[in-house]
């Protein structure tokens, strides 16, 4: 793949521009990491440095002492894992039907996928809050998981639809000519081909639930049930005066799982999201 010839000075300009982007995109994150390893003395200094003179793990220790981070991470893990698994299990068959059949139901479902992306959450969370309250599911992870499942369904359908369309119809037709029934074809021919897409979708659903804040903030009121993003905000303190070191340390830790997963599935996510967003 050759690019149209660019002049030498044009090339240099491109590298300078790229460097500017990298500075803008990377430096806040590097600053977070740097702050997480700084001892209090350096944090109080009026001339902060990029690389801590005297790096320490005290901030991490202090973060775990100040807030129930482990329990919060456990809650986040349970909520995100359950939501991702349930969402993918129920979304895959529907995504298949929507992608393969053009009828009123799949048109309505596609419409819902688009519209549900656009509604202000406040319009959904008030009724959900009232419903969950009547079911005594406020302040429980099960209530939150229910909300996360439905909340992650639109993009799960969206991504999975893209993967279904990538499976050639001819393969299914061949199986059906060989005498396999519709369901047999689905299970033995289509499902294995969809597996990588299903895994990618589940991981993406996991990350979005792991990162989610608004629903968790509204639905979880006690430290026993709160998820990691909600507990992180406790570090900010009532007046917004924060203990910078532990705050940075806890925030950095909370990012690692999603960064790792994202690094693994980055290409699949972007591919799946795009076919869903642009085509269909």
């Amino acid at each position: 793949m050759t690019t149209p010839r660019t002049s030498r000075s044009g090339r240099a300009g491109q590298y300078v521009a790229l460097l500017c982007y990298l500075v803008f995109l990377a430096f806040p994150f590097l600053w977070l990491i740097s702050t997480a390893f700084k001892p209090p003395r350096e944090l109080g200094s009026l001339h902060p440095t990029w690389i801590p003179d005297d790096p320490t793990l005290d901030n991490f220790r202090q973060a775990f002492d100040e807030q129930p981070l482990l329990r919060a991470a456990g809650n986040s893990l349970i909520a995100a894992l359950s939501a991702a698994l349930i969402a993918v299990v129920i979304a895959t068959p529907m995504a298949y039907v929507m992608a393969r059949n053009r009828n009123k139901l799949s048109a309505a479902a596609t419409g819902w996928v688009v519209v549900s992306q656009a509604f202000p959450f406040v319009l959904v969370i008030i009724p959900l809050f009232l419903i969950l309250k009547n079911l005594h599911l406020i302040n429980t992870l099960s209530g939150l998981i229910m909300v996360y499942v439905v909340w992650s369904l639109p993009f799960a359908l969206w991504m999975l639809g893209g993967y279904v369309r990538a499976v050639p119809r001819e393969l299914e037709e061949a199986a059906s000519v060989d005498g396999a029934g519709r369901l047999r074809t689905l299970v033995s021919v289509t499902a294995p081909l969809l597996a990588p897409g299903i895994v990618a979708t589940a991981l993406f659903a996991f990350i979005t639930a792991w990162n989610e804040f608004f629903f968790a903030l509204v639905l979880l009121k006690t430290p026993q049930t709160q998820t990691l993003p909600v507990v992180l905000t406790h570090f900010l303190g009532a007046e917004g005066v924060a203990d910078l070191g532990p705050l940075a340390a806890a925030a950095f830790l909370a990012t690692i799982p999603s960064l790792v997963i994202f690094a693994i599935i980055q290409k699949r996510i972007t591919g799946g999201m795009l076919t869903g967003a642009v085509k269909s």
Binding site: M1, P4, G10, Q14, A17, L18, L22, L25, A26, F27, F29, W31, L46, P48, I90, P93, M94, Y96, V97, R100, L105, V114, S116, Q117, A118, F119, P120, F121, V122, L123, V124, I126, P127, L128, L130, I131, M146, V150, L153, R169, E173, S176, V177, W210, P229, L236, L244, L247, A248, A251, A254, T255, S258, L259, I261, F262, L274, A277, V278, K279
Partner: protein
């Protein structure tokens, strides 16, 4: 009658999908149920319930039953200057984030589409904001903006441009400061979408245009942009909607302060609903927000339809 439809359907289906003649497609309708039921019960239902709440005096912890009050909430909203302030701020924020972000992302996508060295590194780094929890993004930028220990003011001091300032609590600087964070946080999605749009244009077209002696700008305008336009329209409309509805980032950065200068509509509605317990009133706010969003949604759908034709 039933018999007639049963015999006529497969024939019709066969003409659309060759293989489904033997096994009609509606034979798998039950596969939809596991997802359809939760969608109806926990999404469509609550949405309609939410809209209906806007016409009631529903409040948190009230003992007497909720009553219908017609359009009273909306009449109150009309005179609620705080709400319209937040609405105005929401529009400023949504436009202030969406447009610069689009231009920046377009530039980055064009760069990443070139054969540059370190492109892989740039791609990897450009994706980081996408993977980070919004709460962490907010916390991270508070560290950057921190008046004493933050890197921004330190850089300003190093460059001899003054002492810097308290960005997030200054009346004039708070909104621009959170807008910069919004731009940063949404860069990956926009860049990836535009990059995919660029990669949809056949490379030969670029080369042919280059051989014809077209400069970079003309190549962009005549070759890349026509293919990119539907994607650009769709992602811009979606970004506007997401930004207008955003909550976590600004909640963590400023919680709406100073003096309401960054109080987005969602923050305002959240406070009404879950601090003051005014469920009906907050639902009415949600309805008004939907009106704005519907306009952008129309843009998005038009972009999507045009995109579909182009494929």
């Amino acid at each position: 009658m039933t018999l007639a439809t049963a015999t006529s359907r497969p024939g019709k289906a066969r003409s659309e999908h060759p293989w489904s003649g033997k096994q009609p497609d509606h034979g798998v309708w039950f596969l939809v149920l596991p997802a359809l039921i939760p969608i109806l019960v926990l999404s469509v239902g609550p949405l309609l319930y939410g809209i209906s709440l806007a016409f009631t005096d529903s409040q948190a912890g009230r003992t007497q039953p909720t009553e219908w009050i017609g359009t009273l909430n909306f009449q109150d909203l009309l005179h609620d200057t705080l709400f319209w302030d937040s609405f105005r701020i929401g529009l400023l924020w949504a436009i202030g984030v969406t447009l610069p972000q689009f231009l920046l992302a377009l530039g980055l996508a064009l760069l990443l589409n070139q054969n540059l060295r370190f492109r892989w590194l740039a791609r990897a780094i450009a994706i980081i904001p996408w993977a980070m929890p919004e709460v962490v993004v907010g916390i991270m930028w508070r560290l950057v903006y921190n008046p004493d220990a933050g890197i921004l003011n330190e850089t300003i001091r190093d460059l001899g441009l003054g002492d810097g300032r308290d960005w997030l609590t200054g009346l004039a600087t708070a909104l621009p400061a959170v807008i910069v964070v919004g731009i940063w946080a949404g860069m990956p999605q926009t860049t990836v979408a535009l990059l995919a749009g660029l990669q949809n244009t056949p490379h030969e077209l670029h080369e042919a245009a280059a051989l014809d002696g077209a400069g970079a700008w003309r190549r962009f305008r005549t070759v890349a942009w026509p293919a990119l336009k539907p994607v650009a329209l769709a992602i811009t409309a979606l970004n506007f909607i997401w930004n207008f509805n955003s909550f976590a980032l600004v909640y963590v950065l400023t919680n709406g302060g100073p003096g309401g200068r960054t109080r987005l509509p969602m923050l305002f509605a959240y406070e009404e609903a879950f601090r003051y317990g005014q469920f009906g009133y907050a639902a009415a706010m949600g309805c008004v927000m939907v009106a704005v969003i519907s306009v952008m949604l129309a843009f998005y759908l038009v972009g999507r339809l045009k995109g579909g034709e182009g494929q």
